[in-house]
C-alpha cells in the first residue's frame, strides 16, 4: 500500500509524523501541504473558491508532485478547497480516500458531491469524525491502515493486589499519537478510583506538554476533542475490565427496562462513578456507543426512539 498525504498545518504534520514513525513510514509515497492562500492566489489570480466547481484542475498548484498512491489521506485541508480532492485523487490514481474531520472548518463543503464523484471514479471514501473514531471499514486499504491506527486499542495488565497498572501495550494508536503518549504515563496508576482515572485520561489527552496530543476542535458545541477523550478512556476501561460507557448504558437498561434515548442519555452522559459505573462526557460518544450496541444486537432501538435490551 502506498499512502499519500494532502495536508495543512501542524495538525497534518503531527499525524504524518505519527504514521510515518508508527509502522507505515515505508509505505508513504509523498506528502503535499496545501494552504488556502496558495490556491486562492493561483498564478496571481484572485478568483474565489467558487470557481473550483468549473475548472478544479486549474487550481491544483503547479508544484504538486507527479507521483502515485493507493490511499490518499486528507488532513486539515480547508473545507473550501475540498472540491479539488477528486481531481487530486485522479492524478494520484488512488483507490481509497480517508478524509478525517477534526475541525468544523475542514468539513468539505460539498461532501456529497465529492463522495459521488469519487464513487463514480471507483474510489472509496470515508470521513471519520474525529479520526480516532475510525474502528472498522469494508475497504481493504483502510482496513490495512486500521491495523496500525484508528480508534485506540489497548492491552493492559494490572496488579491484582494493588489494582495499579503494570503495563500498557498499545495495539492500535490514535493517528495523532496521543494514545501512546498517555499509555506511557499509565504505569503505576491506581485503577480503583474511576473518577481519577477518567480525569487522568482527559487531562493527558490534550496535555500540550506531551510529545503528541489531541488537536481536535474542543468547542462545547462541536466537542471532537472531548469525544476523542471518551474513546480513549473507554478503551482503557474496557482493557482494564472496568465498567465502560457501554456498561453504563446496559446497566441503566437493566434497571429501567425500556427507556427513551434522551432519558437514557441524561442518565449516562456525564455520569460519575459514584453509582458504581461511569459514562462518557459527550453526547457524540454516547450516540456512537448506542449505534454499536445495536449493531452488536445487544440493544434494540425502536422507531419511537426507545431503547431496550435485545
Amino acid at each position: 500500500m502506498r499512502i499519500f498525504f494532502l495536508y495543512s498545518g501542524p495538525f497534518g504534520e503531527q499525524i504524518i509524523n505519527t504514521i510515518s514513525l508508527g509502522g507505515l513510514g515505508d509505505q508513504v509515497s509523498g506528502a503535499y501541504e496545501m494552504r488556502p492562500e496558495q490556491v486562492l492566489v493561483h498564478g496571481g489570480d484572485t478568483l474565489g473558491p467558487d470557481s473550483f466547481f468549473e475548472n478544479p484542475e486549474r487550481y491544483i498548484p503547479a508544484d504538486f508532485p507527479e507521483t502515485g498512491a493507493d490511499l490518499l489521506i486528507v488532513l486539515g485541508v480547508h473545507g473550501r478547497l475540498s472540491d479539488l480532492i477528486p481531481c487530486i485523487a485522479r492524478r494520484l490514481n488512488v483507490r481509497s480516500v480517508l478524509y478525517p474531520i477534526e475541525d468544523r472548518d475542514t468539513i468539505p463543503e460539498a461532501r456529497k458531491t465529492i463522495t459521488d464523484e469519487l464513487t463514480e471514479m471507483g474510489v472509496h471514501v470515508e470521513f471519520p469524525e474525529p479520526f480516532c473514531s475510525l474502528s472498522r471499514s469494508n475497504d481493504p486499504l483502510i482496513g490495512e491502515f486500521l491495523k496500525f491506527f484508528g480508534r485506540p486499542l489497548l492491552r493492559v495488565s494490572t496488579d491484582r493486589g494493588s489494582g495499579r497498572i503494570n503495563q500498557v501495550e498499545v495495539q492500535r494508536d490514535t493517528p495523532c499519537g496521543s494514545a501512546s503518549c498517555i499509555a506511557g504515563k499509565l504505569t503505576g496508576v491506581d485503577t480503583h478510583d474511576l473518577d481519577f482515572l477518567s480525569r487522568f485520561c482527559y487531562d493527558e489527552q490534550h496535555n500540550d506538554e506531551a510529545e503528541n496530543y489531541c488537536l481536535a476542535e474542543m468547542d462545547p458545541r462541536y466537542p471532537l476533542m472531548q469525544e476523542a477523550g471518551d474513546l480513549f478512556r473507554d478503551a482503557l476501561f474496557e482493557s482494564c475490565g472496568l465498567p465502560s460507557t457501554k456498561d453504563a448504558i446496559l446497566s441503566v437498561l437493566n434497571r429501567s427496562g425500556d427507556i427513551g434515548v434522551e432519558d437514557l442519555a441524561m442518565q449516562v452522559v456525564g455520569l460519575s462513578s459514584g453509582k458504581g459505573t461511569s459514562g462518557c462526557v459527550t453526547r457524540r460518544a454516547f450516540d456512537l456507543y448506542l449505534r454499536e450496541l445495536e449493531e452488536e444486537h445487544r440493544i434494540v432501538i425502536t422507531n419511537q426512539n426507545t431503547v431496550k435490551l435485545a
Binding site: 498545518g9 501542524p10 495538525f11 504534520e13 486562492l40 500540550d208 488537536l215 468547542d219 462545547p220
Partner: protein, 221 residues
C-alpha cells in the same frame, strides 16, 4: 503590513515558526534572536505579532485561514518561547501590586492568560496563576487567601462566558467584591460584556490590560 514586503516575509516566517508542531523552530528562532543581541522583550513582542496574525486568520469571517489546531500549537510554542525569554526579562519594580489570574471553568486555553501574566510580571506585578479551567470556588478562595489587588480572568470560548459572571457573583456572596478590582479579557469577551456583568475593566489585549492594571494601582495609591 501588506505594503511592506520585507515585513510581510518576516511575519510569514514568524507564523511558520509558531506553527511548527515539534517546537524546534521556536527554540532556534528565540536563541538566534537573543544571541544577536536583540532585547528579550522585543523578541517577545515580535512573537506576539505572529500570534496576532494567526488569530486574525482564525477570526477572518470571510475565509478562515487558521484552525483550532493552529491556535493550540502556536500557543504551545509561545509557552516554549516564554520559558526561554522570561528569565532574561528585566525585573520590574517590586511591589507594584498582586494579581490573581486564571482561565475560567470549561475553558482549557491558557496562552492568552499566560502571555498576560508574563506581561504583568515583567512590569513588576506579583502574579498568582491559578491555571486553566478554574472553578468559581477556586477563584473566590484565591482572592480570600491572597488578598490580591486585581483578579484577572480569561475566556476564549463564548460558551464559558457565564462562568465569569458566576465568579463575580461568588465574590459578592463571599463579601470580597469590594476588596478586589476585576479585569476580564480573551477572545470571547467584549467591553459590553464586561460592563454587563459588572467587571471593573476589559482588557482588549495584553498592553491594554496592563495599562488598566496600572490604572487600578494608581487609583489605589
Amino acid at each position: 503590513m501588506a505594503d511592506d514586503p520585507l515585513r510581510e516575509t518576516a511575519l510569514s516566517h514568524l507564523v511558520s515558526v509558531l506553527l511548527d508542531f515539534k517546537g524546534t523552530k521556536i527554540r532556534e528562532y528565540c536563541q538566534l534572536q537573543l544571541d544577536s543581541g536583540i532585547d528579550p522583550f522585543a523578541v517577545f513582542g515580535e512573537l506576539q505579532l505572529g500570534l496576532e496574525e494567526i488569530g486574525k486568520g482564525y477570526e477572518d469571517p470571510g475565509f478562515r485561514r487558521y484552525f483550532n489546531s493552529d491556535l493550540i500549537v502556536s500557543g504551545r510554542n509561545m509557552k516554549r518561547a516564554i520559558e526561554l525569554i522570561q528569565p532574561l526579562l528585566p525585573p520590574g519594580k517590586e511591589g507594584k501590586g498582586v494579581v490573581v489570574i486564571g482561565t475560567v471553568a470549561g475553558d482549557v486555553h491558557d496562552i492568552g492568560k499566560t502571555i498576560f501574566a508574563v506581561t504583568l510580571e515583567s512590569d513588576g506585578f506579583f502574579v498568582i496563576d491559578t491555571g486553566v479551567n478554574v472553578p468559581c470556588a477556586k477563584f473566590v478562595e484565591a482572592v480570600r487567601d491572597n488578598t490580591p489587588d486585581i483578579l484577572a480572568m480569561s475566556s476564549l470560548l463564548t460558551t464559558t462566558l457565564p462562568a465569569m459572571s458566576e465568579v463575580l457573583h461568588g465574590l459578592e456572596v463571599a463579601g470580597l467584591r469590594d476588596r478586589v478590582r476585576v479585569i476580564i479579557g480573551g477572545h470571547a469577551v467584549t467591553e459590553g460584556f464586561a460592563r454587563t456583568i459588572g467587571a471593573d475593566a476589559y482588557g482588549r489585549d495584553c498592553i491594554d490590560g496592563l495599562r488598566k492594571c496600572r490604572g487600578f494601582m494608581q487609583e489605589k495609591s
